[in-house]
């Protein structure tokens, strides 16, 4: 299995508070991704990174920001959490940006915003 960890694994927070989720990899892969999974929507891409300090938006980026200061860490921040951001968040990594490479997923973080 690819070396991907996510922290925290579970979090309960209140509307309006900031939340940061961390993804850590030990594979030295260039590309990292954040997805959210919701019933009826499958997995949707929030943001991705194609290198240190290089990030771009995905399909559902509103309300989220990301940062990548080291190859191994990709942070997802909810600046002011809302109930619509209650979801399961998955981090993924790949070496060639998807075109010719498999993406590997972390174990997920379950976030509940009250």
């Amino acid at each position: 299995d690819a070396g991907i960890t996510q922290s925290p694994r579970h979090k309960v927070t209140e509307t309006g508070t900031p939340v940061t989720l961390r993804c850590h990899q030990t594979e030295n892969h260039r590309y990292m991704y954040w997805y959210r999974q919701d019933p009826g929507h499958g997995l949707r891409l929030i943001h991705y990174s194609y290198g240190v300090k290089d990030t771009d938006k995905g399909e559902v980026s509103d309300g989220y920001s990301v940062s990548r200061s080291k190859t191994e860490d990709f942070l997802l921040t909810l600046e002011s959490a809302t109930s619509s951001q209650t979801s399961v968040y998955f981090c993924a990594i790949s070496d060639y940006g998807g075109r010719g490479e498999t993406q590997y997923f972390g174990p997920g973080t379950r976030l509940l915003v009250l």
């Binding site: 929507h41 949707r44 399909e59 998807g98 498999t102 997920g108």
Partner: protein
């Protein structure tokens, strides 16, 4: 718009049965992956298959990119095959990002 459709949405199998899951997509594909999400939520790679056929044990997959579909075959199903199966093509129209289908939920009964 971009569409990835999986069928059937739900499937109940008796242990030992065979089944076929289908994934239709609306645009040219450079890559396609099949994933299994187990009952604990973990997403596990099954296949990277932009075209052709691959086999891995009791599972096999076929992608016909020119006709914009992929199939996942499960043979001699086991209770451990239960979970949700996702296909995720990398579509040119989606900026070469993986687009996930809605999944097929499989329950294998002993």
């Amino acid at each position: 718009g971009i569409q990835v459709e999986q069928s059937p949405p739900d499937l109940i199998l008796q242990e030992g049965a065979n089944s076929t899951l289908r994934c239709n997509f609306s645009d040219s594909v450079n890559n396609l992956q099949w994933f299994h999400q187990n009952p604990w939520g973990q997403l596990i790679n099954l296949f990277y298959i932009p075209s052709g056929t691959k086999q891995n044990g009791r599972l096999s997959a076929t992608t016909v990119a020119t006709e914009r579909y992929s199939l996942l075959y499960i043979s001699s199903s086991q209770t451990t095959d239960s979970g949700v199966y996702f296909c995720a093509p990398l579509l040119q129209a989606a900026g070469n990002k993986l687009t996930f289908g809605g999944g097929t939920r499989v329950l294998v009964k002993p």
